[in-house]
Symmetry: C2
Subunit: 306 residues, 2 copies
Amino acid sequence: MRKMKRVAISIGDLNGIGIELALKNHYEVSKIVEPVYMIDSVMLDRCSKLLDIAIPDGFETLESVGEAFDIRPSQVSANSGRYSYDSFMKAIELARDGVVDAIVTLPIHKKAWEMAGIEYKGHTDALRDIFGADAIMMLGCEQMFVALYTEHIPLRDVADSISVDGLSRFLIDFYHSITLKDSEKIALLGLNPHAGDGGVLGDEEYIIKDATVKAHEVLGRDIYTEPLVPDVAFTPRVREKYRYFVAMYHDQGLAPLKALHFDEGINVSLNLPIVRTSVDHGTAFDIAYSGADISNLSYINAIKYI
Amino acid sequence: MRKMKRVAISIGDLNGIGIELALKNHYEVSKIVEPVYMIDSVMLDRCSKLLDIAIPDGFETLESVGEAFDIRPSQVSANSGRYSYDSFMKAIELARDGVVDAIVTLPIHKKAWEMAGIEYKGHTDALRDIFGADAIMMLGCEQMFVALYTEHIPLRDVADSISVDGLSRFLIDFYHSITLKDSEKIALLGLNPHAGDGGVLGDEEYIIKDATVKAHEVLGRDIYTEPLVPDVAFTPRVREKYRYFVAMYHDQGLAPLKALHFDEGINVSLNLPIVRTSVDHGTAFDIAYSGADISNLSYINAIKYI
């Protein structure tokens, strides 16, 4: 029998929906992995009372995580930001020490991190710095995953960020981060409308092609497609041929992905010494602690990916 | 009884699938409008023989359109390009003279136009020049339409194309080109990831807001939303609130649209003295004259929009 993987669940912003997801889905999650929750009993008790959800049996927590504070449902606050950061750091510590096999993160609030004086913009940014590695951000679900070559930068900076060296390194790293089936290819997107239409609508597609040639030389195998026409790449007839897509920028990949698969998507950090997946939604302050129905699709998929 | 509208069907590149669509769907089209096809009997006979499709009763054509040539199925050729241009010009002539109420265009091949020495990149470009008007390109189907503020330009030029004057004029023109229901709003997209996240990921959203304020002042009514987060704008919960979307650039609007509604989309030219709709697909040289099944959804929807 395969041993179940042990997973550190970083608990996210406790003023948001993360803790409710953790409590309500503990039994389902426990069928897939052995979860350890990065929260201490003081805070867990407070959340459980406020939510009026009993703490499930076998809900394993830590002795201490961070400074206790009063939950303020749906409020952006420095102390909740700090606690969510401490919770995330505990998860990384356990993963580094080999105590857990992977990390799953529940949503933090970026503004709360900023208010707590935390220098990182989010999880991926922190992981990149902590491990000194070019983490690759990939979002998606079983039907399709989209890896982002550029992420959180202004649209006006995207074109100049595409270089043969940078992109070929990305393509090589990404290939090594996933497992392809025999002869499976990865859909690589162009940058410009109609993929530049032979240079008439932009010429970054030539850089993308050069980067692909360079990556294929190193890999000794043709993995990536020609730069695909971006507005055709996600149509049914193209989609059915690929599981993995590489987008040149944030909205190029994520707008079609989220249009097609909203509730079920997850966020995966690749190219790191540890495995980390995350729900692909925020703290949902609009419905936190309200008793509203919360979809667990993304959370369960994040657990399953491990 | 409402009089049926009379519509000029510009026949497209005769080496492609347009003529097959026209022949096969004539009876269905005739239930919706009174079509006049911008083709002459010599070329119609040649196509009909090659396709082995009889010319339907009441298939009204013109006496002369352009120079006859030998059909070469699926070939890009100068004479086919020239004929498709002449066919389009005939349609415009009839619309200008009030002989028809609208134009529906079947697909031309841009390279064929170029080979024929035609200065325009495509239909919309030609219409813009001929009518000296800022034609607005809108694509979509009954469920959602996307109007493009910038169209066929390199991605690197998009950010600098957004100005308060240009965008507010566009927003005013677009509003006047469509019919909204009471209190219906139009979804206006931001430019940057997360709509700039308060300026951290780009600041064009401030220009977009200023343009919106200016447009609303002129229109005396609030029509457009705040700049929406682009990768959230097309998710089901947002989509269900709007029929019309304004995208800042080509792929921002068309990639999600085509991911969701591929076969059924049409292309509409707004803000012109004439009404023109078009199929939203190309000449399909890969299946032209092959006997393959051709979806008529886009064609029929283009007819219905009239």
